[in-house]
């Protein structure tokens, strides 16, 4: 697989819903070994990490109540949030026509984080309008 092909596939996976890497594994697996590859690739990708995380889960069940552990996890969560905010900023910067499309970001955050509306409806409505606007703009050029 060439780098361009890989990037194209990754682009597809990043934009489709579902876990990106799992989707990518399905596509790469299918490409080389048909349905067997599509089955084995994600399994191979997930088995190790799942086992590790299950060990961590057991540790958490035993020691999670300790104040030191809680504080450690809080530190991790804080870093995690920082990374998410940074990622959101980078993604937002990469969006073309910011004045047209950033309002959809504001809409999503208001609906989900502030109003706590269910995500499927919010996404369906947002996607319909936002893609509609994009479709119209593409036609104007």
């Amino acid at each position: 697989m060439t780098a361009e092909e890989f990037n194209a596939q990754l682009g597809l996976c990043q934009f489709l819903p579902g876990p990106n890497v799992v989707n990518l594994a399905v596509i790469v697996g299918k490409r080389y070994q048909g349905w067997r590859g599509a089955l084995v690739a994600p399994l191979g990708l997930l088995t190790g990490p799942v086992l590790i995380v299950l060990v961590l889960a057991r540790l958490y069940d035993h020691y999670g109540a300790l104040p030191q552990v809680q504080s450690l996890l809080r530190g991790l969560a804080a870093v995690g949030c920082g990374l998410l905010f940074a990622m959101a900023w980078r993604m937002a910067r990469a969006i073309p026509q910011k004045r047209v499309f950033w309002p959809f970001t504001v809409f999503t955050v208001s609906a989900l984080a502030l109003l706590r509306w269910p995500m499927p409806g919010v996404m369906a409505a947002g996607l319909l309008v936002s893609s509609g606007v994009a479709y119209w703009m593409l036609g104007r050029k």
Binding site: L16, A57, L76, V79, C81, L84, T108, L112
Partner: protein
Amino acid sequence: MILITLFFEFAGLSFVAFGGATALLPELHRVTVDHHHWLDDTTFTHLYAIAQAAPGPNVLVATLIGWEVAGLWGALAATLGLCLPMSVVIYGLVNRWERYSGQRWQQAIRLGVAPLAVGLVLSGATLITQAADFQWGAWAIVGITVMLNLRYAALHPLWLMAAGALIGLGGGL
């Protein structure tokens, strides 16, 4: 019974997870904490922190939630629920999608999804800060992480996580 609920809740989520499991955090929180009361806020943020630090894809947060809700089978049901439906759809869709690549409607969807994906990531981060009830120390870590991550792209996030964990362990956040 709870296994079936778990599987279908997560399977439903997989179809709106634009941007992967990270984008799902708001909805995972709504379903598992607000709606089903399977977890409380604190446990949810703890599981997020563990998944974030563990090696492997982000989807593992589902594995952890499943484990806390219903043990080993719960972990498998939640993970499969999140991974399987979209995998099947993609398996069937990938060739057709490539054939239409570059068409106007496909570009439009691509453009339209992006701002929503940003909103999902922002919402997830916001919800974690609310659920974790951050004090000033934790907020300082959030701010410093954002700065360092944007400024020094080469700095691997694992270093930041290690630092955050150590500060937490030592300082009592």
